[in-house]
């Protein structure tokens, strides 16, 4: 009940923020622009539309999560609204969870809007609804949840600018950490290999949520991989949320 109230208030705050609509406008423009790119392409035009469309959902979704997520807790502390909020009968974890779920709800709505534009554009080219795209969008949503949890964690102890830099780095590292896999294969066994393996284990691998190529090219997606990515997303998000709570639990609001 209390988590719900905080979540809905966070949602209200987010949808009354103009920056969200600016990002939504750019996302919609990019999706529609993919039609122009398709005209310039030799070969299967619809693949370009799908590719660019899914990439913009992922990129602009991540930007929304970072821009709004990094201010989630910081703004409450900075504007001192947290004083009256935490004086109410709520636990600190309820506050954090409410803020997180509020932003997740916002991102879900934005992703739905962007997906409608994207799928309508695809429909006008193929004259059928491509449900497979939804699987890719679902994994993008899980990726956004994970990014939000990171942004929330940074927001608990850092300013929005620093948090944005941290979160963007997390996004970039997450999408390139798979490269370590190749390094692991090439390194000779020994302590250095173990070290790289540990780093690889600790670093997030956001490529787990990327099945864009498979979906665009109608390649088979192993069910096992899909479930693994889903569980990976859920558990990693819960893990980061727990760390955020541990940081926030004993924090003094001076």
């Amino acid at each position: 009940m209390r988590i719900k109230a905080i979540a809905f208030n966070t949602f209200k705050e987010a949808i009354r923020d103009r920056i969200l609509y600016l990002l939504l406008f750019f996302a919609a423009s990019t999706i529609i622009f993919s039609r122009v790119l398709a005209l310039l392409t030799v070969g299967d035009r619809i693949k370009i539309i799908k590719d660019v469309g899914l990439a913009s959902l992922s990129l602009f979704g991540a930007l929304m999560a970072i821009v709004m997520g990094t201010g989630l807790v910081y703004k409450e502390i900075e504007k001192k609204t947290i004083y009256t909020l935490l004086s109410k009968p709520i636990h600190r974890y309820q506050f954090l969870l409410g803020k997180f779920l509020g932003l997740i709800l916002t991102l879900f709505m934005m992703l739905c809007l962007m997906s409608i534009i994207f799928m309508t554009l695809v429909y006008f080219h193929t004259f059928k609804i491509e449900w497979d795209l939804l699987r890719a969008i679902f994994l993008i949503f899980l990726e956004l949840s994970l990014i939000t949890s990171f942004a929330l964690l940074f927001s608990c102890f850092s300013t929005p600018i620093l948090s944005s830099i941290f979160s963007l780095s997390f996004y970039l590292i997450g999408h390139s950490s798979w490269g370590l896999e190749t390094i692991i294969q090439k390194i000779k066994p020994g302590p250095q290999k173990i070290l790289v393996q540990i780093i690889y284990l600790l670093l997030p691998n956001l490529e787990n949520f990327n099945i864009k190529t498979e979906v665009v090219h109608h390649l088979p997606i192993p069910t096992q991989l899909f479930f693994f990515s889903t569980l990976y997303g859920i558990f990693y998000t819960l893990f980061i949320l727990t760390i955020a709570y541990l940081v926030f639990r004993k924090r003094d609001f001076i």
Binding site: K4, Y83, T84, K88, D252
Partner: protein, 305 residues
Amino acid sequence: MATALRIEDLHKSFKTGFIPKRRKILKGISLSVEEGEIFGYLGPNGAGKTTTLKCILGLIFPEKGNIEILGLPYLSLRAKEKIGFLPENPYFYEYLTASEFLHFYGELSLKKREKKAAKVKEFLHLVGLEGWEDVPLRKFSRGMLQRIGLAQALFNEPSLVLLDEPLGGLDPLGRKEIRDIIVSLKKEGKTVFLSSHILQDIEMICDRVAIIVNGQIISQGFLNDLVSEKILFTEVTLSGVDKKELEGFGEWFSFHGGKTLIKVFEEDKIERILSLVQKRKGKIHSLIPRTETLEDLFVGIVKQR
């Protein structure tokens, strides 16, 4: 009478600066507030008033000490259900309208859902904000924010109301209205703990006060016990007497229109002034004995430190 708030030996320090240095803010605060009274928490800026309030609310964690709210551990939800809090210079979600704001806080602090709509109206009326239901808080003036802040503090009908500088930023009329609300809370049997440095207001409404200076409570007790009834001096306003003749009676100041105000410290001198005025066929305009005020006490204590 039961105790509404008990604080024992509260210590808190903060680390400040690039090379962190520990600064003690509270150095062993102990006080108890009885149920049904208005308790004034006085102190100069930076004395530790707001820090004490933040400790009570669980916004910061003391290093040492114990706090009980109505016999309950202060961090328990049951204790928090019974308190209402208005911070100093309240900041609220400026994108919410007044009624959305109270609804939101109602959902956090109330249990029954159906009561809220009527309650929002009732509380907006109580703080004089009827007609402002649909206006976003970003358009509110400071005084109006103070009022809506008071409404959210009282919305869950708390037994203990904690107010941090509740009368700051209000015009004289607004101050009177808020003072009246605070007094009416006492009549309803609620306990009010208010921190302030507007001594005049505290003097008018508080039963007991504690004075905090530099993180320590210097004096606490019933207002009547702390402030003596002894006459400190008498202010006499007169006219028709030559100023030279008044020398030696006390400090005097001239006014326009030939009036003179003289501060007389000894009682026998008042008799002599009265007879002098009679002799010179002058006029006494006023004669006011001044007793010690809370301000005198406060200034005296703070200067001593």
